[in-house]
């Protein structure tokens, strides 16, 4: 069935694609180790965040928090804003996004095209100022609704109810699930579902490690762990630097023809690590990982061409995942 009553109904149900060329080769007679890519760029606005946005808006509607004509406020550095803008347009809400100046030009154009209003805050280095901007806006508009994806249970539930069941249906032999750790919603929701259904499943997080600018907090106590995060859902958690993320992003399109954003490269790096461990240990593995979005929005960074050192420099100080 490939016919839907509206764009919102076409959210999810993304293909799971085998990667025969990127999967490690195993010695003769050893059990197979296979990589599978869940193509979340095939969602209505081109990223996994469509699932999150749709579930958060529906939950707010059901709870009476959102009524027609209301304004949604979202601090976002990208995909969630684009997804919310599409959902807001189709459900009759106004969306105001607060975002740092140092996001890519494509993201800003996309948001405006989908009808969102944007308020810029100073680049990530001055996070104190960004917080001040966000606080001020919230204070001036107490009636605006903030869905707060970092603490919204509907974000994780979207993946518990859709991403998880889709993976199990398409890959009943799944042994590892690998995804990016941002709001933690994908890993918490999908991870909980798979842990209930698949014995000894490994839930693996790949976390982007940015340049130093991004970590420029004044004090350890100003750190933040999303309310959704529950470490007991995870089996392992990898930190992936810019260079490895770029290398794997390029490898994915060169070897398997999948053109993805850099967060996907970070996830693939962790997926390859667990796949190679399985080969070393002589264990069977079906490793499914998330392709969060396509590479289109990141072309202007210039990080798809040139040397890895050039790419690393181009992404320095940027929130590339």
């Amino acid at each position: 069935m490939a016919r839907y009553d509206s764009l919102l109904d076409a959210c999810g149900g993304t293909p799971l694609i085998g990667l025969p060329r990127l999967s490690p080769t195993v010695p003769d007679g050893a059990p197979p180790v296979r990589l599978w890519a869940k193509l979340e760029d095939r969602n209505p606005t081109g990223s996994i965040k469509d699932r999150t946005a749709m579930f958060m808006v529906r939950a707010a509607e059901a709870a009476g928090r959102l009524r027609p004509g209301d304004t949604i406020l979202e601090p976002t550095s990208g995909n969630t804003g684009i997804s919310l803008a599409m959902v807001a347009k189709l459900r009759g809400y106004r969306l105001v996004c607060v975002m740092p100046e140092n996001v890519s030009a494509e993201r800003v154009q996309l948001l405006r095209m989908y009808g969102a209003e944007i308020i810029f805050s100073p680049a990530a280095g001055g996070s104190n100022q960004a917080v001040a901007v966000a606080k001020q806006i919230a204070a001036e508009h107490p009636d605006w609704v903030m869905l707060f994806q970092y603490g919204n249970e509907a974000n994780a539930r979207a993946h518990y109810e859709t991403t998880g069941p889709e993976l199990l249906r398409d890959l009943p032999t799944i042994t590892h699930f690998v995804a990016g750790l941002g709001t933690t919603g994908t890993l918490m929701g999908t991870g909980r579902y798979l842990r209930e259904k698949v014995e000894a499943i490994q839930i693996v997080a790949a976390e982007p490690r940015y340049g130093e600018l991004v970590y420029g907090l004044r004090n350890i106590d100003e750190g933040y762990v999303p309310e959704l995060y529950d470490a007991t859902v995870l089996s392992r958690r990898f930190s992936v630097g810019t260079r490895d993320a770029v290398l794997r992003t390029r490898q994915l399109v060169e070897v398997e023809g999948i053109f993805a954003g850099f967060s996907t490269g970070a996830i693939l790096h962790a997926a390859l690590a667990v796949a190679h461990e399985a080969v070393r240990d002589g264990r069977r593995a079906d490793v499914a990982f998330v392709v969060c979005d396509g590479g289109w929005k990141y072309l202007s960074t210039g990080a798809y061409g040139g040397t890895l050192a050039d790419a690393e420099e181009a992404l320095e100080g940027q929130l590339w995942a």
Partner: protein, 116 residues
Amino acid sequence: MAIEVRIPTILRSYTGGAKVVEGSGETLADLLTDLDSRHGGLKGRLVTETGALHRFVNVYVNDEDVRFLGALDAKLSDGDSITILPAVAGGAFGFAAAAAIASHAASVAVAGSAGR
């Protein structure tokens, strides 16, 4: 035995500005004690009074989160590379701004309900 440790910007006041320092130890706890002997005060910023890793500190051994490898009891080997980072993954902006607005909204909601 030498283990390389990457220090985040906000903790370099303890290492005389050094980005990378070396230490030794059988476990992460041993390593932090060893580092503290030369960089006094560093351990106190990473480990709480109750002896656990600080909630907003992430420590990685060869790029893997040490909390999944035994935390402070994680075994270390010669040549391991340790990275210490503050917990802001996903972008300092998104997290900080979202948390600020949420706490503000909560305080407004409390004030509002108290006034009724």
